[in-house]
């Protein structure tokens, strides 16, 4: 399968190379006389986001299809927000999470995306627009996308209460996170978030050190341990933050954690090297551990998942050719190829219909319907992910995304939370 796709990729790209070579030659000839026209010819979009979403294959395929170049600017989740707030002209397209919007949108640095220009806008999964999966409402604690996806107008600094023509971000990828475990080292079933602080795994657990996400994982654990039931885990009061951090500090002082991790690769290394046997983890990180031939489960838990969603946004100052190019990229992204590519990595794509068209039936059955794999399942770059007959962790799309307990969030008491989180790190 991977051979066939690389073949089909090779043909158009060589054609494009020839074409762009011709264009380039013409450009050089014209440059002497018409430098301005030459400058307009080539569009380069600076794409700001985290490294996890910046796949080389996606940029290459897009360039082959349209001639527009994507220039990846990779920073951490926190830095994406920081750049959006402090340096909005340093990128042409932002790939950020919905929870960051509460910080970015009030600055007016984002332009509302006109859904009339997005071909597949009405096919975006209802999870984003109405918060439903398979006709059932999912948990909306935290910053659920439906709360922040619509803007009142193109230049609005406030979120709209009901659907409008303008979206803040066009959803791209999303997933429901849970604990990752090493079944070969744990050797018993794990079914609750509470296991993260179970003294049985003392010195062998890890938690995410991005405060706004780590605190949500901690809150899932606190609820699972029966210590407290939050009215909204994604918007805690100071007292609730104190309780959550106190629980973490006590566990840390008792030697529960082996390490804290901040980026994707750290979590993969901790798990693959066996330093850690249970930790909060992202789905593609689990995939990455597995492609090394090491058993790793993205463990479904009875309390449900902590969901996240990312999307594309446009800086307010973007205009002209670059703006058109950005719209072209978004349209291309929702058109199926990228969606299928992401689905094969264990993410979910925003427009399922188009992605399905670009996937093999057995792949769709494995990734989206929770059925046993009819053939070996391979990652987009050809590594073996699952043998024929195995079933995806967490089952089908509906059972996984339907099990969302809360969303990554930005709290009103965010400043206080970060201060307390530093206390946890220093404890």
């Amino acid at each position: 399968m991977s051979d066939a796709s690389s073949e089909s990729l090779a043909a158009p790209s060589s054609a494009v190379q020839r074409r762009s070579l011709l264009k380039g030659t013409a450009g050089i000839l014209a440059a002497g006389m018409f430098p301005a026209i030459h400058a307009q010819e080539k569009i380069v979009l600076r794409y700001l986001g985290t490294a996890v979403n910046q796949d080389k294959a996606i940029a290459e395929k897009f360039k082959a299809d349209t001639g527009i170049e994507i220039q990846y600017v990779a920073v951490t989740t926190d830095d994406v927000t920081k750049r959006a707030v402090t340096a909005p002209n340093s990128f042409d397209l932002i790939d950020t999470e919905y929870f960051s919007l509460k910080k970015i949108v009030p600055t007016g640095n984002l332009k509302g995306i006109d859904t009339k220009r997005i071909k597949n806008a009405d096919k975006i999964t209802p999870l984003f627009t109405t918060g439903m999966v398979g006709g059932k409402a999912v948990g909306e604690q935290g910053t659920a996308p439906k709360k922040v996806i619509y803007l009142e107008g193109e230049k609005s600094k406030v979120f709209a209460k009901s659907p409008t023509q303008f979206m803040s971000l066009i959803p791209t990828v999303y997933n429901a996170d849970t604990l990752g475990i090493r079944p070969d080292l744990i050797k018993r079933p794990i079914d609750s978030w509470a296991e993260l602080l179970n003294p049985e795994f003392k010195g062998k657990t890890a938690i995410l050190n991005i405060p706004s996400i780590g605190i949500m994982d901690a809150a899932m654990v606190v609820e699972a341990m029966g210590l407290y039931k939050y009215p909204d885990k994604g918007n805690m009061t100071k007292k609730e933050i104190d309780l959550t951090i106190k629980t973490l500090i006590e566990a840390k002082r008792a030697g529960q954690f082996r390490a804290l991790w901040k980026d994707f690769n750290e979590s993969v290394n901790l798990m693959a090297s066996g330093e850690v046997v249970i930790q909060s983890m992202w789905s593609p990180a689990v995939t990455a551990v597995r492609t090394k031939g090491i058993a790793c489960n993205f463990q479904p838990l009875k309390e449900g998942y902590r969901a996240w969603a990312a999307g594309f946004g446009l800086p307010a100052t973007l205009s002209g050719k670059k703006l058109d190019g950005a719209y072209e990229f978004i349209n291309w992204f929702l058109d199926g190829w990228a969606g299928a590519y992401l689905n094969r990595q264990g993410y979910y794509s925003a427009v399922l219909e188009t992605a399905k068209a670009k996937m093999e039936a057995y792949e769709w059955a494995y990734w989206m319907e929770g059925k046993p794999a009819a053939q070996d399942i391979k990652s987009p770059n050809g590594d073996l992910l699952a043998k024929a007959g195995s079933v995806r962790d967490g089952g089908s799309y509906e059972s996984r995304m339907g099990g969302i307990a809360c969303w990554n969030a930005l709290m009103d008491e965010n400043n206080y939370m970060v201060q307390k989180w530093n206390e946890f790190v220093a404890a």
Partner: protein, 304 residues
């Protein structure tokens, strides 16, 4: 330091023509210094008194940031975050300083007094710099597979039947942090100490030997005092680097060990610039005090 500088100004005043030329000569560096050091520092100081919310800085004047840095520090039962962090950072500074000093001095002594030929000296000196041909982070990360739970050291010890289960404290602990620091920064001790040792007049050593001093007496009464400048300069390097570091402590400590730099980094990534600025000002003050204390011990300008 102040008496020589006043005498210097007096000399400049006495020769006005040379004074202007000297001012011009000093101007480019002064401009760089002002533009890239004093102005940013002034801005940091200014911002540390500003207010802020989730997404913007609010110019004004408030002590809120400084108060919040020291919040809860009156409580004696449980140390507040800031004190705890500074204590941990100081602990690392002292440990690393002590170890790199002994190691650095020993290596420099060997290079300066035991290796006779200048060619061999250069060769061995270059050998010391080899680890610096690759980046800091790579040098740090290469410790991880060595020290890990299933790492090379543990595997070897288990295979030799010296231990039953893996030693946990090798990695993500105070030990691994100090180890990495020593590995990274001993060179900063070796270079200045070696430099001052090379300036020691060899006839002084002969004189000491002729006067009947033992090896230790020569070392303690002649070499150490004459290497003082190098020791102090090396100490300033090592201490200031460790005080501000957050990468080494993060990577080798499993992100679980507090450092002042780490707190500043977290705060800037959450757009809490005024808080981070206040922290930076306090850190700068602490480091300046340490350096001031060290320069009391030796007049660096005179010794250079």
């Amino acid at each position: 330091m102040s008496p020589p500088s006043t005498s210097h100004t007096a000399a400049v005043a006495a020769a006005p023509g040379r004074g202007i030329a000297a001012w011009w000569q000093a101007a480019p560096f002064t401009a760089v210094f002002v533009l890239f050091f004093l102005v940013p520092l002034g801005l940091i100081l200014m911002v540390s008194f500003w207010d802020f919310n989730e997404y913007e800085l609010l110019p004004g004047f408030t002590f809120k940031n400084y108060l919040s840095v020291f919040e809860g520090c009156g409580n004696t039962a449980d140390l507040c975050t800031t004190l705890r962090t500074y204590l941990s950072t100081l602990k690392f500074s002292l440990l690393v300083w002590g170890i790199t000093l002994v190691l650095g001095f020993a290596v420099a002594y060997f290079l300066a007094f035991h290796v006779r030929s200048p060619g061999m000296q250069t060769l061995l000196f270059v050998l010391c710099t080899i680890p610096f041909w690759t980046s800091n982070v790579i040098r740090m990360i290469s410790w991880v597979p060595l020290l890990g739970r299933n790492g090379l050291v543990n595997q070897t010890l288990i295979d030799l039947h010296l231990i039953q289960t893996s030693i946990e404290w090798l990695l993500f602990s105070d030990f691994s942090v100090v180890l990495a620091f020593v590995h990274l920064y001993t060179m900063f001790m070796i270079v200045p100490i070696f430099n001052s040792m090379m300036r020691i007049d060899r006839s002084l050593l002969e004189a000491a030997s002729d006067s009947g001093a033992s090896g230790w007496q020569t070392l303690w009464n002649v070499i150490v005092p004459l290497s003082r400048t190098g020791i102090i300069i090396g100490s300033i390097f090592v201490i200031t680097i460790v005080m501000g570091d957050f990468v080494t402590i993060g990577v080798m400590g499993g992100q679980q060990i507090a450092s002042v730099g780490k707190i500043i980094q977290v705060q800037t990534s959450y757009l809490q610039f005024p808080l981070a600025a206040a922290n930076a000002v306090i850190l700068l003050a602490v480091v300046l005090m340490i350096i001031y204390g060290l320069t009391r011990l030796v007049d660096i300008r005179k010794e250079l």
